[in-house]
Amino acid sequence: MSRTSHHKARQYLTGYLFIAPWLIGFLVFTVWPFFQSIYLSFTRYNIVSPAKWVGVSNYRMLLTQDELFWKSAWVTIKFALFSVPLGIVAGVSLALLLNLNVKGITTFRTIFYLPSIVPTVATSVLFIWILNPTIGLVNRVLMLAGIQGPSWLNTAPWAFYSLVMMSLWGVGGSMIIYLAGLKDIPQHLYEAATIDGANAFRKMRHITLPMMTPVIFFNLVMGIIGTFQYFTQAYVIAPSGGPGDSTYFYSLYLYNRAWKYLDMGYASAMAWMLFLLIIVLTGLVFKTQKRWVHYGG
């Protein structure tokens, strides 16, 4: 009896030792910063001198007096509203096309995937160049159709749409996930439908799309979380927010608050508002899950 309990205790200890690297990192880089960040959000803190307690004044200020807080939150939400649904539609459509069994399809898969592996900073630099108003690639192409393209990154609504366009260029990353989802759909469902006399459209509507909803749901959630942390592209293209602050993304504003103005208490309050917003939004998305996401089968 005591031998087995001794053995058990040893086994438990071994288990904890194995997960120790994660456990230590979790305590030091997640748990402690998590609570510290709540505390800092109620202080004035410039990293050089100790934090000074100011109560809820950071939150009051950003909710009632800080126009840029609302502006950057709106830019980010608007970006999510454009890029996430467009990315899903484009990603699923491309995956459907690339799932067809024709010669050379793997080459095309590679072609569509390629843009998504270009490093983010390189993509951003490349887009600064191809969106050049006079000699950029995009306006040259538009000129072939007789259209005078806008001065993309230098004018207010277009700078925003430029970033949406750039996110669509990298749609190959999610396309691969959809493609894997399509491959997982059991072939016998289609065979049964064929016997029942279903045409291609009905198969798509009643088999393919329902079976794809879990993957679409996964990408939707990841897309929302990702958009609220959208930073590198915005920073490389316009570190101070672009024309009329039209590309002043939330995370960019947070970064500038913290590291440009050393307003770290305020930035911590912003981080918590961001976190709460993400929780609310993903919570809402999870609530709709029952109505449209099809598990099992």
Binding site: G15, V125, F127, I130, W169, I176, I225, M264, A267
Partner: protein, 284 residues
């Protein structure tokens, strides 16, 4: 059943499919072609006319001097060395620590295992902005600001994402051999090193690949922690180059090309590992 019969596509449909594929390939590839072709142009060719011609896509004559010029203005080899140093150390750190942790979670029973695993998965949804400021002040108070330590040390504390991928993989490995080894008196550590790791090479390769690319591309880390130009990485160096030499498009595209090509080469060599890794993420 031949693939012809299974797909049952008429020649007309096939033509339509290829037409769609080719049309859609243009926006995917043209920007990349434009990047490389710009890097091989002289300023006269770049600023000449704003029309899209065959000659503007495939410049003749080719001007290769933008590459040495970019290397001169941006200490590329130094940045490359720095980037590779970070890539190698973080790959080792992340793969080793994540494999050890994944073994603990998948092969050893202990109280609280399921709950801790759930917490670990949940941390993946925690936005980095929440912990960024306290972690920064922690590293600063340790005197690590300006060094590589803030970029390397966290990698050694396992990544939730890789642990998840590896536990999925370890669970598919049969337990019979491990049980036999245990009866023979082997420790968990021995079983992990001698039995589990050698069987897990594909999954470990996926994690190594993702971490390598993650570090190669990382911009925020170097932006927060590096202040000495001699320590810059390629991603950060390229952004700095843009802010200083924004108008030198040919050199800028040359620098972007050399920054991108290693990743593309890596992709072609490890295509299978790549796709498998991404596919497991989405569907499991």
């Amino acid at each position: 059943m031949t693939s012809e019969r299974r797909t049952g596509l008429t020649p007309m449909t096939k033509v339509a499919i290829y037409a769609a594929l080719i049309m859609l390939s243009i926006p995917a590839l043209l920007p990349l072609l434009w990047m490389v072709s710009t890097s091989l142009k002289t300023n006269t060719q770049i600023f000449g006319s704003g029309e899209l011609t065959v000659k503007s896509l495939f410049p003749a004559p080719l001007d290769t001097q933008n590459y040495p010029a970019a290397l001169h203005n941006m200490p590329f080899l130094l940045y490359l060395r720095n980037t590779l140093l970070l890539c190698i150390t973080t790959v080792i750190g992340a793969v080793v620590s994540s494999a050890v942790v994944a073994y603990g979670f998948s092969k050893i029973e202990f109280p609280g295992r399921g709950a801790l695993f759930g917490i670990m998965i949940a941390t993946m949804a925690l936005p980095g902005q929440v912990t960024m400021i306290p972690v920064f002040s922690l590293f600063r108070s340790l005197g690590w600001y300006g060094s590589y330590l803030p970029l390397i040390v966290p990698a050694f504390t396992a990544s939730a994402y890789y642990v998840f991928l590896l536990t999925q993989f370890f669970r598919t490995l049969p337990d019979e051999m491990s049980e036999a080894a245990r009866v023979d008196g082997a420790t968990e550590w021995t079983i992990f090193l001698r039995l589990v790791l050698p069987l897990s090479k594909p999954a470990l390769a996926t994690c190594a690949l993702f971490q390598f690319i993650g570090t190669w591309n990382d911009f925020l880390g170097p932006l927060l922690y590096l202040n000495d130009p001699a320590k810059y990485t390629l991603a950060y160096g390229l952004q700095q180059f843009v802010s200083h030499y924004g108008g030198f498009f040919a050199q800028l595209m040359a620098a972007s090309t050399i920054f991108t090509i290693p990743i593309i080469i890596l992709f072609f060599f490890a295509q299978k590992t790549f796709i498998q890794g991404i596919s497991t993420t989405g569907s499991k």
